[in-house]
Amino acid sequence: MNVQSNPVTASDTNARVLSYAEAIREAMAIAMQADPTVILMGEDIGVYGGAFQVTLDLIDRFGPERVMDTPISELGGAGVAVGAALTGLKPIFEFQFSDFAMLAMEQIVNQAAKLRYMLGGEAAVPVVFRMPSGSGTGAAAQHSQSIEAWFGHVPGLKVLQPSTPEDAKGMLLAALADPDPVMIFEHKLLYKTKGHVPEGSYLTPIGKALVRRTGSDLTIVAGSIMLHRALEAAEKLATDGINVEVIDLRSIRPIDRDTILTSVRKTGKLLVVYEGVKAYGVGAEISAMVAESDAFDYLDAPILRLGAADAPVPYNPDLERASVPQVDTIEAAARRLVRREV
């Protein structure tokens, strides 16, 4: 996979190639080196290196006092991270799979997200939650969910979704620099994908979408792995003269209204692609945001959404694939939209 680099950092032409997992690890190492209050917490992030090997050797470099294996206690572990963040540490808490955050919703949503507000601005909870997410690994219904839309619904949180190694690093550093709780949804299928990653410390701005491909016929908004599928679909459509503008959503909360509306005003057509269940998913908000904006008047076709089937993620690999948007379904939806067969 190879996508247009972030203009903010594209000047760094000597950027090395790293995997998405390596980029995240590098961000953690840089932050830990620079700031002794940064600690990592999570299940099996120490010698095991994390279920997806993201923390790999960090325990060797920073020791068990800063790379802490928690017991299998998501509510307690996340709550300890919240309490630590409230009192001077900057914890990065890894949920082994984002699905397990369901055990910790209380601490994430009732506590972390609300403490600053409930205390009238007198407290801060600078915690980062890392959320390995998504389907495609054959792990079935309880290990494959995409629940980021839930957190988009929660004021007090920031919710990010990097699609490239460069952003994965920059977003984690930005999250650590942010005084409020940030959740980063990392797609499991992206961990091994590679891309240019600048050296040193840099911050990917929180709340900014990015036009990854310019086009005039249709806007596709997608994030995380769906960005890559959308770009691939766009290439295929280009061979038929259909010019697709592809926007990498990057930030679910806050949403970058301007970038999306500007594109829709230009193309007049919008397709939103996301991996979560279609109903009440991320794409619903994007569609609704556009439909209530002045961009409405520029729309010359319905706003289409592609999301997951209305089912838990199935185990059988073919069913699993069929349950979420793929390059061909994106391509087909885009064609229907351009031809106004909707």
Partner: protein, 334 residues
């Protein structure tokens, strides 16, 4: 060694000035809550509240040795904790009245009252919500190389939450400087510990976390302060967490909507006869820490402070309606 001093621990251990201040704050808690109750009846307070009248010794004696650097996490029944830890009743009333001068700038109310400067990380509307947060605060102290301890207040009802189990286990495995203080007032809302909890005493669960567990008479100021003294020393020495269970009772209903159908008048009256403030006052007088007149002066001072607090709160401005979304995120970061 000769130690013929048979006086209660608190009398031996704290200075008369400290003891008088403790009595003062216990009166302040009582009068504050009565004032809040009265204000509620007059429609000046919105929502609900959970009064700790009858539990003042537990709050105050627990906080006796805590400095402003030490932290507490409190719960829905947290007014006493807040005052014991050093909060100003004026800003507390202001919060209850929803004013911008309140501790939470009118956003939190009774269930979220906090005073970060005195180390009170906040009440909590979620039963058990403060347990892991307290463990996190203790982790900060340990990692940042400070000798601060964290006291986590929670109720008997909270002891059946998963958060209790996970928090005590993590605190023990990581040997963190946290003291879990269970205020066992016999009921979680309407449900008695016998109907909710498989063991008679919460402290019996400490063994499951390999930490000391002590059950004390929570209306006995000295007993509570002694148990905390031991637990705090252990925590400061790096020996890890403890669980202390203060047996006490709330005189009022669970919250403003309670019809008290689950307990008898006799039970309530029997506990009211064990008023922890009267008991502590008598103890101080018996040991010559103060006399009746001195005690009365302290009690009057509490009344005056509460009155002043209410006036301050009333005179304060309400938040600006345009600021509904203020304090959701850090101001600079937006």
């Amino acid at each position: 060694m000769m130690d013929a001093d048979n006086r209660p621990f608190a009398i031996r251990h704290y200075s008369p000035a400290q003891l008088r201040e403790a009595l003062k704050r216990m009166y302040l808690i009582r009068r504050f809550e009565e004032g809040a109750e009265d204000s509620y009846t007059r429609g000046m307070i919105h929502g609900t509240m959970h009064l700790s009248i009858g539990q003042e010794a537990s709050a105050m004696a627990t906080c006796m040795e805590l400095t402003d650097d030490d932290k507490i996490t409190s719960n829905h029944r947290g007014h006493g904790h807040c005052i014991a830890k050093g909060a100003d009743v004026g800003r507390m009333f202001a919060e209850f009245f929803g004013k911008e001068t309140g501790y939470c700038h009118g956003r939190g109310g009774s269930m979220h009252i906090a005073d970060v400067k005195t180390g009170n990380l906040g009440a909590n509307g979620i039963v058990g919500g403060g347990l892991p947060i307290a463990v996190g605060a203790a982790l900060s102290a340990k990692r940042l190389g400070k000798s601060d301890v964290t006291v986590c207040f929670f109720g008997d009802g909270a002891n059946n939450e998963g958060a209790f189990h996970e928090s005590l286990n993590i605190a023990s495995v990581w040997k963190l400087p946290v003291i879990f203080v269970c205020e066992n007032n016999g009921y979680g809302m309407s449900t008695s510990t016998a109907r909710s909890t498989a063991v008679p005493h919460i402290a019996q669960r400490a063994a499951a976390y390999a930490m000391p567990g002590t059950t004390v008479d929570g209306n006995d100021f000295s007993a509570v302060s002694e148990a905390l003294h031991i637990a705090i020393a252990r925590a400061r020495a790096g020996d890890g967490p403890s669980l202390v269970e203060n047996l006490t009772y709330r005189w009022r209903g669970h919250s403003k909507s309670d019809r008290n159908r689950y307990r008898t008048k006799e039970e309530i009256e029997a506990w009211m006869a064990k008023d922890p403030i009267a008991r502590f006052r008598a103890e101080l007088i018996a040991h010559g820490v103060l006399d009746e007149a001195g005690a009365d002066a302290i009690a009057s001072q509490a009344v005056a402070d509460v009155q002043k607090g209410i006036e301050f709160a009333k005179a304060s401005a309400a938040p600006d309606l345009s600021e509904v979304t203020r304090y959701v995120y850090a101001e600079a970061a937006l």
